[in-house]
């Protein structure tokens, strides 16, 4: 079982020009704790939407790699998007679910994965090119390689501990997060400067 902070830090080491979409709650804090970066599109809401934001981005920028890093609860709310991604087969998109089998933000209630609902099986059924679990440092290093090199769509369920870790809060103004991201990616329309 992985420490979520260590795992995300390892996953995003030497990230290069990777575009990262962290899902609301703990994944947003984990990605912020690994080091703030303008190419993080932090989510503070829109639960269930992270994978689809990743898809829109991956389709718009086939020249870049996109990683959605989200939680089991957030992913469960958008399961249909795995089917939608399966239809489009974006080779540059990876989805990493930090699965602690609980809803950490709301008081650690058990999620569906705690009852054995199999996200990897769902991703495989949705035609993800690679769908696997990760529970050791070595698996995390291999996942990191997949984010940068694999022909996607890739789905990785990372088994992380349920321990509560301190919140690390990144910027939360949506317009600022979006504009900073677009300025760094070079997609900000000329008239709307950050």
């Amino acid at each position: 079982m992985l420490d979520r902070r260590d795992a995300v830090k390892r996953l995003l080491a030497d990230r290069g020009d990777l575009l990262v979409v962290p899902g609301l709650g703990a994944p947003t804090y984990d990605v912020a704790a690994a080091g703030d970066h303008p190419l993080n599109f932090y989510l503070w809401g829109a639960m269930g939407g992270a994978a689809m934001i990743g898809l829109g981005l991956a389709l718009a920028r086939p020249d870049r790699r996109v990683a959605v890093i989200t939680g089991d609860g957030e992913m469960l709310m958008g399961l249909g998007s795995l089917a939608t991604i399966g239809v489009k087969q974006p080779s540059n998109l990876s989805i990493v679910v930090l699965d602690n089998r609980h809803y950490g933000e709301t008081g650690m209630q058990a999620s569906h994965t705690d009852a054995g609902i199999d996200l990897i099986g769902i991703a495989k059924a949705c035609r993800f090119a690679d769908a696997r679990g990760a529970s050791t440092d070595r698996d995390v290093d291999e996942t990191r390689r997949l984010l940068h090199e694999a022909k996607g769509p890739v789905f990785v369920q990372m088994h992380v501990q349920t321990d509560d870790v301190p919140r690390v809060l990144p910027i939360r103004d949506g317009k600022q997060i979006a504009r900073r991201f677009m300025a760094a990616l070079g997609t900000l329309p000329a008239k709307a400067s950050p």
């Binding site: 829109a46 992270a50 934001i53 829109g56 981005l57 389709l59 718009a60 249909g80 990616l185 329309p189």
Partner: protein, 176 residues
């Protein structure tokens, strides 16, 4: 008869022409009878990435991601689909993304299926409460101008705009 057919293909074609003019590159949709011709034209166009969704809510994330990546996107949905999007629309408002939604109406004019009425009767109000400006179109000859204006507002003013294509415009569903 011929005139009816022309009218029913002219307005989706006018919308498609504006998609091309504005450089729409991604179109998200849940299959819909009212939008069927427009969907078909988007699928046939190699410059447009058509994304079939399991629920309209997914399209809101798609639009946001596309815009972050430098592409303009549009969403096609039926009035019932608006209800599926409400919380996800907060993404658009929070981040100030442009968003163009084209809504075909059910439950408002010669509706055979009463189950369409509750959502159809609150669709426009829901959109406005969620931060959208709405432009309602009842007649085919208005589509060209209204969609042009809606699109310019969405993308040059970076706003959330919904075009409401009324059931009178679309014509009633054939239940025979």
């Amino acid at each position: 008869m011929d005139q009816t057919v022309d009218t029913q293909t002219a307005w989706p074609d006018a919308i498609y022409a504006h998609f091309k003019r504005a450089g729409i590159r991604q179109v998200g949709y849940v299959p819909d009878a009212g939008h069927s011709r427009l969907i078909k034209r988007c699928i046939e166009d190699p410059e447009i990435i058509d994304v079939v969704l399991t629920t309209e809510e997914e399209g809101v994330g798609l639009v946001a991601g596309a815009y972050l990546g430098g592409q303009r996107a549009a969403l096609l949905m039926q009035s019932s689909g608006v209800g599926n999007c409400i919380n996800m629309f907060s993404l658009i408002q929070n981040c100030g993304f442009p968003c163009l939604v084209l809504v075909t109406m059910r439950g408002e004019w010669e509706e055979f299926n009463p189950w369409q009425v509750p959502m159809g009767s609150i669709t426009e109000e829901c959109l406005r409460l969620a931060g959208f400006s709405t432009h309602r179109i009842d007649r085919p000859e208005r589509v060209d101008e209204f969609v042009r204006i809606a699109m310019d507002r969405a993308f040059t003013e970076e706003r959330a705009i919904a075009v409401i294509l009324s059931q009178m415009l679309i014509g009633k569903k054939d239940w025979r």
